[in-house]
Subunit: 365 residues, 2 copies
């Protein structure tokens, strides 16, 4: 059995120790004589794991008890409408800082509910290649919230500073870089992330809300029960059956991150080293590989670049596959190459990728 | 490693061959060198499994291509509001036949969207112990749809005939008895089911809609994108990342049902035999065990009964646990005992349960 060198953009590679543990416990989880999939979500065994996952999340993030950790479903795309549905009522307005495809998608959903100010770095051709500078952010101080996307999976850009937004609550879609580095919890009011990049498999969406921002949310009675953040908060995400197995893999992944890696500061160092190696291979390629993103906006999670022609990109992808390297075709809307180097992809895999890039370049330059 | 005799009400027991296959493929799914959790949902390997699962579903149900099979999330509780949100606009009305807790919960969500006629078998004390007779169903023929719950997990009742509803489209929550027996597809317009009882683990919700009913649904542009059935239908449930692992376990469970069991008619025979054995143990207990449900409304999935006192029920549950029998405490709203005997619980387990019941009775009568 040969494991792939997996650069998928999400669902993505998981830590080997997580998979081995899940395999080992498949028929008998924690001595229950059942798979975790067969255990009642009302059992003490399940609830202990559920609560432990929230504590692991809080501990890694440095969040106190004033943060509610919710396990939801439907991916970030569901949060795109849930945030405005829960917050934009009685003519409230919000500001969206748009730095890529998913931020744009979030605006589309938000406009159904209220008035939206948009600050966008979209280029004339519809592409995105940079994060705005602080001085570009003129934010209406009456905004109910300000929404940003911390990392742009498709375009390969990432915020390398945390913006000042003038006191408005900051809501952040962290789907593609959550827990890749520490982040300033005090600056945030709500974060959300589909799990399938850095936290586990698809099927569970993490939402963390600070108490004082939760307090501002729409009343539960005015929304469908399952669309109210209050329902999830008041029932500890157990109003109905949660996606138990996805939460279980999340639990194992958070333990790996906390105990095997040693937390977010260590993870950041590893991720910085990984990104450094890959970007250096691009920058030292004498123009053979070209990264479209402004240097100070480059993502440490999704490294995107182009070759001279789409044909050469196809050849690159095909030969990489023969070398066991998969998941590197750029998003269908952009083309090109993308290495998604989320947490579970350690330096070893990056070195293999760079070796392949260098070989390919020497033959094809 | 000793496996539990697992009568959980959901999440519930899975077939052993499903768990063994999932265990075997954990590090290398279908020769990809990845877990199915690590594979892109845009890959040909994933898409083949996704589509195959839909075909298996159609084949088992006897559904033609006019049925769209959707993979959603959020459980049946999410369908409670999605059905009316997608169908009750422009003052349309619907009829709900309420036979238990979950039907009542569905009405609560539906009333947010339109005018609802309710036909209920609720007793004066708030309990439910029967399914209505055909002649009780006076249905407004202008109903946009009629909603029913085929099996009542909490109260242990189940429809043993399919109602005539006067030409209105019939919508059925089949969460707790889907694929336990064949059902008349021609009488139905939309069915939904959380997977975690008969179909797999929690985390995926099955929705099947007939084309002509889908045609009546609200336009996509008028709803949040992720709340429109059309979004899921038009994108083959791949608008965003689906809950891949839950769908994978669904896939394996459907294969077990089709190839190892031999389809729904065989499954029905097995389920009838299981229920017969358990109800016989109740009925021949000289009143020691008492089933509250009307005989012709009894469920073949959730067998509920009472003992003389709550204390004796506690003793029953405790001693059962010592014998390796778990998950039999009745729902917190009803008390009593409940054996949930979904598809994966085969006759062997039922015989063990009945042996225990008989021993307990002889000692405690």
């Amino acid at each position: 059995m040969k494991r792939a060198i997996n650069f998928n953009a999400g669902p993505a590679a998981l830590p080997m120790e997580v998979l081995l543990k899940a395999q080992e416990e498949m028929l008998d989880w924690r001595g229950t004589g059942m798979s975790v999939m067969e255990v009642s979500h009302r059992s003490s065994e399940y609830e202990a794991m559920h609560n432990e996952s929230q504590e692991l999340f809080r501990k890694l993030a440095g969040m106190g008890p004033e943060w509610k950790i919710l396990f939801m479903t439907g991916g970030a795309s569901t949060q795109f409408f849930m945030v405005p549905m829960n917050y934009l009522f009685r003519e409230r307005k919000a500001t969206y800082i748009v730095t890529g495809h998913w931020g744009k998608a979030a605006v589309k959903e938000a406009k159904r509910f209220g008035s939206i100010d948009v600050i966008s770095t979209e280029n004339e051709d519809g592409s995105f290649t940079r994060i705005p500078k602080q001085e570009e952010l003129r934010i209406d101080p009456t905004s109910t919230y300000v929404h940003m996307t911390s990392n742009n999976t498709i375009y390969g850009s990432q915020w390398q500073y945390w913006p000042e937004v003038g006191g408005a609550p900051l809501v952040c879609d962290m789907s593609s870089d959550i827990f890749s580095r520490p982040f300033p919890v005090d600056k945030l009011a709500l974060i959300y992330a589909g799990a399938q990049k850095n936290l586990g498999p698809s099927g569970v969406t993490l939402v963390a809300i600070r108490d004082d921002f939760l307090y501002l949310a729409q009343e539960q009675s005015k929304l469908p029960t399952m669309l109210s953040y209050r329902t999830f908060s008041e029932n500890n995400s157990l109003y109905n059956t949660p996606p138990c197995f996805s939460i279980y893999i999340l639990n194992l992944t958070l333990k790996w991150l906390l105990y095997s890696i040693g937390g977010l500061e260590n993870m950041q160092k590893i991720n910085e080293e990984k990104a450094r190696i890959l970007y250096e291979a691009i920058d030292s390629s004498e123009g053979f590989y070209r990264g479209p993103v402004e240097k100070e906006s480059r993502s440490q999670m999704n490294v995107v670049f182009r070759l001279k022609t789409p044909e050469m990109e196809d050849a690159f992808i095909k030969q990489a596959k023969s070398a066991g390297i998969i998941g590197i075709r750029g998003h269908r809307s952009t083309g090109g190459i993308r290495f998604s180097i989320y947490n579970a992809n350690l330096v070893d895999n990056i070195r293999k990728a760079v070796e392949f890039m260098e070989e390919f370049r020497l033959i094809n330059r």
